[in-house]
Symmetry: D2
Subunit: 414 residues, 4 copies
């Protein structure tokens, strides 16, 4: 006769603090636990009575196996829950240059604390899919390719705390917390206004305005407006690829875009060569800056960057023609250069009509940097917005129209 | 000297009950209040300690003006909050056939209760954008076009309670509560499994399986699989348009789809006429059923519907050729016919490659009917999924592949 | 011993006249014959030496079977080739109301001649997928649903001549003959200029400017510009659906579009009801015209149509809420009403952000009416442009930007 | 008194040979001349009487200015017309490494001849947007970045002849010459059959089958079928990026794709880290090949490549995590490596669900290599197909379904 055994119970108590309801921290944790098949008991719940009051919850997780409990603790920690017994974080040495030890902690783009010497120390430069390395005793986010053999790499588990993004208390929200993509069927004025507000706040905070732009900015006729934004001092840094610069310069040198005359004349078969001829001339000059200095490049976006002293960074891709001499052709070098710019203090990002560069920059940005993505193609936004937070807005719109509206909004109120 | 006036305060207390955190009822209400600029104080909060325990919250809304308070009460009521003082619902007579009185209560597709004689009475047939009319003393959801002059129409305000959809406690969830659209980058097996589970549950409950299908089901080569699903008894009702039936019949009569031979022969210029010739033959026969009876239609989807006794409903559109004699050409008549089918007990809906019909059916369905939308075009899903709930899943996929996987899943396990 | 038989040869001589090379008539015929596996011999070829000179070709088709020869003759006839022996066209009576006789000639949207009494008589009202019926001795294009039992319906075969669209000799072309869809990567100025030129020519010829518009015209903020175009007298007829009118009227009555305030305030949950309330008020008034007369509708597109006396035609669909009292809910009745407008003399068509209505109108239009399709979604254009001719241009663009540019272009030069 | 001057006339005679009508050479030239406003007179036209007979045309171009005549001659030359007076080609030295002389001839991807010593010499390795350099006395296509200072670079103008792609005479065509993109509404069997035919012909000719694949091949469940195609020996070379390899390896190591379990279990929050852990392990091993050798990578696409000895080439991009040690991170180095593979004898290319890599490879391929592009997103195909020739087919389809159908087709008939 088989005697029925009482079910085994493995338990752990975790805590949550902050705006845990409307930041979705608690709902997400409940969702995750139900998905895992882990029971929970909310032992204590002190709700914040007014909107600025933090809440507190103490929750016991109850799992039928030890390994499921471990999984559950790790998962809820990723949403910001911490265990009661605050152990120190642990480390292991990197076995080789560019290789993390097994079990390394893989970062999110959220603010993260590490338990060092009994206190929580904030990790610098939060960025997705990196490791955390102690450098000069302090934890830094470091990408795989920049790790050196022997460095102390943070191990996943105890002593790590993630801080979810919370909804701003001080400003009127423009969107509900879900569905931050604005489809072609919705009014756009509010997104433009939000972008302008974020830009003004970044500038007030002494932080930079980063624009990530694809060649469609040029093709769709937004070039003049973009130049106006540069001249108005709105933009501090531009990340783009070879194509944006080439087509901008093609217009300046030949009056055509992808070989098509901008003045409405019919395109010539030979017009398609113009972009290669433009590249060749800049290569002959040595660089875009030298092309401006020598008088062969006299207007447009790249010209405005040079004359206004705007930082621009052109990252290469395998579909590039040429490329222009300024292009950083190595992808890892380009990431390093972009990372350095971002860590230098970016306060807001506009991503305009480029999937490749937008995803690349999105990988490097902390979640705390508000971001507006504009593309005429909703499927680009769907891909970009998957990581969406309160701080990210997608807008299905012609980029030219967006820039005009943005310029008007910034000019109107400043 | 101007004396500063103390700020005016207008307050109202509301209550929430149920799984108010993970159903997002409470986070949404907090979001809404912050958006409106209405302060709140959570006076009481009894959290459900385990996953099946309901929670309870009593919240005081505090607004600077009476009208803003009224707005806030109305908005939080739409998320399921009720006032403490439970008044009876109020009504006004419809001024004309097909016209509601001003101030009428406009329905959602959620379960809704009306306060009648001191008790909550559930509204029958929840459907978006309708009115609620007392018929034989009980509240029914009625569309504008079916209202009769003088009927008692529910007025927005007191005595109405909306019940948000809650996450099922009993089943392992396949998705988080947000982002239920499955993009082309994610595995599809889990969606197919969920669809199969919903179909089995609907059949176990004696409810019908409704398929809403666009002509791409035929064009993309899914016709044979669709016929297999019909023959396997999986499908109870089909909603479609003229085009699906015409192209299905074109294949049967001419071996071409939109004039293109299915056997890989090159298309002929004159092939484009086949669909009109097919329509003409069915019109000559009198109906699809008579075409089957007279032996001129011998295979395919419509043939299978006739021989298997499957209900099909073809709704007309202004882009129709012909149309086939079975098509209901009047849009309001077609809506009435679809509504009658749905109210007859639909338990799950598959929407396959049709934006027009999917939106039309989505308008008519209660939120409680689980729905899977499959389309190769993500922007169709984006539009369809705006109303998304825990019960709706979008899948970017070739419809033929989906139906094959679904058939395999249903066959494998039953 | 099997004796090898000489291959059978079935031949027929056909003729081509006109700009048979650059209208692609001859290349298409050669393509078609190679596809069919039919040999040909060009017996005579008199090339037009200058661009305005017509060319002439006499071609012998050589097929291995009689039936393949018949197919080949029919196919090349659809591209404009005629046989040498000009027989009279043949007819058969319609067997029932709404039914053509088997073997009926199915029309294209190209100009077509019928051989009657030894001369070529032009068919009136060319339209795709119709029949040709002799009414008062002259051939008219008639849709299936409007045929009466006993009428003389043209039979496919001898005595029919199709006239391909030729490239205009008189104007500078804006596009090559292929690839007339303008993607988001190409300059748009030339398309706007072409649209303006077509509009001016239509007006100079006393023909009407037809706009087919979807609700996105309102949602995307193009409403004001659209009203300006109406007031400027640019538009003569508008085809739309319930949704465009409803959302236009919602803005006028509630200041919201799909419930979202246009002034940038955050949307309210209850805002989604506004469109139903707007519909209800117009139903109470009796019609859009009466709503304007009674002072409850005071601005916007529909108001401008009423006050400027612009013809508008609202066709119903199964996804409509309400609908507005002006909507023609029966699809066939709506087609008849649109057909009557078109036959009344439309000289140019703009299709703005609507797939359903654009396809419906495209089905009704002769190929000779120049058409510009504007949509932010390239896949809509791909579907619309399949029938593309020299006269049709697709433009991937925000409709608001297009209308602004068009208004500027028309204002600038007139 | 002003005397009216007779109009100036500048003329040049050009010749065309070959299948100049159905290859569209002549229609395109006529189109181009009308666009330029250049008159022409066809002085002689000898039509090919049967389908295999070449035609011949001698055309006089008549322009009002010398410069317009020069433009016209250059434009018609790009379509294959040659002047009567066959001068030798001219050259100029490259001024610097990586820089062409002004006026250089910019290549197309069409076969091109250069006039050297009174005969036409075919340029090796036709590729778009390159220069032609005499190396060992013979003309080679050379990209900008590979040019050395002082090399003899071909100058645009005399002595150059482009050979348009002609329609194959020997095979039944599957498509008309226009509209080679197959939308989601058309049957796909014929495209699959065409792809299989091209693959068989390439193998019969001893040429390689190149597959360019994006990560969606893995995400959408096509991985197993892809492995079967590799094992069946169908594929010779694979071009991909870091992402395809990473996600393939993630499945092998963790059973998840982008963190989502393939067996239908719900995704864990921490699952998103799996791809970084997979990268890290391969970096620790040293390379994909060493990971297979050491037993940590035991199945999937990359494993099959290693065990079957299939050449794979992973090109880096700025959005890469890691990357894997096999990735060529420099874009120009990656182009060089791809170019070398292609010049080694590629006979057919399949482009599967990747815009970036497909465009990159499309830039490097001669027009004579037949290419099938498969993507679920029609706008990707629209961009890819702009350069479309008779040899390129686009197919809107789930890539998994395509590969299954292709495997079935290749297995069935071989």
């Amino acid at each position: 006769m088989v005697e029925e055994q009482p079910a085994r119970r493995f338990t752990q108590v975790v805590e949550l603090r902050g705006h845990i309801i409307d930041s979705l921290m608690l709902p997400r944790i409940m969702e995750e636990l139900m998905g895992l098949g882990v029971e929970y008991e909310i032992q204590q719940f002190d709700v914040g009575h007014r909107k600025n009051d933090p809440s507190y919850a103490r929750i016991e997780l109850i799992a039928p196996t030890a390994s499921l409990l471990t999984t559950a603790v790790r998962e809820v920690a990723a949403h910001g829950a911490t265990t009661l017994d605050l152990e120190e974080a642990r480390y292991a040495p990197a076995p080789r240059d560019g290789v993390f030890p097994e079990g390394f902690y893989s970062t999110t783009n959220l603010d993260t604390d590490v338990r060092i010497g009994g206190t929580w120390v904030r990790v610098r430069y939060p960025e997705m899919d990196c490791g955390v390395i102690l450098r000069n005793g302090a934890p830094d986010c470091v990408p795989l390719s920049d790790t050196l053999a022997g460095e102390s790499v943070l191990i996943a588990g105890a002593g790590i705390r993630v801080i979810p993004v919370e909804r701003s208390r001080g400003e009127t929200p423009i969107f509900g917390f879900m569905g931050s993509t604005v489809s072609s069927e919705k009014p756009k004025a509010s997104v433009v206004r939000q972008a302008a507000a974020w830009i003004r706040r970044a500038r007030a905070d002494g932080r930079k305005v980063l624009v990530v732009a694809g060649p469609a900015v040029v093709h769709t006729g937004a070039r003049e407006t973009f130049v106006e934004l540069i001249r108005a001092g709105v933009i501090d840094v531009i990340f783009a690829g070879n194509a944006l610069a080439v087509h901008d310069i093609e217009i300046s040198m030949f009056g055509t875009s992808l070989g098509v005359p901008l003045d409405g004349r019919p395109p010539l078969e030979s017009g398609h060569e113009h972009h290669v001829r433009a590249i060749n001339r800049v290569r002959a000059a040595g660089s875009i800056k030298e092309a401006v200095a020598s008088g062969i490049l006299t207007d447009g976006i790249m010209h405005a960057c040079v004359t206004q002293g705007i930082k621009f960074l052109l990252a290469g891709s395998i579909r590039d023609d040429g490329p222009l001499p300024d292009v950083i052709t190595d992808a890892i070098d380009a990431q390093r250069a972009m990372r350095q710019c971002i860590r230098n203090g970016v306060g807001v990002t506009l991503m305009l009509s480029t999937m490749l560069h937008s995803i690349a920059v999105g990988n490097l940005l902390p979640a705390s940097v508000p971001t507006v993505c504009v593309d005429i193609n909703p499927s680009v936004l769907t891909k970009l917005m998957d990581r969406g937070s309160f701080q990210t807005v997608g807008l299905v719109m012609d980029v030219g129209g967006f820039l005009q509206d943005l310029l008007a909004e910034l000019t109107r109120t400043e």
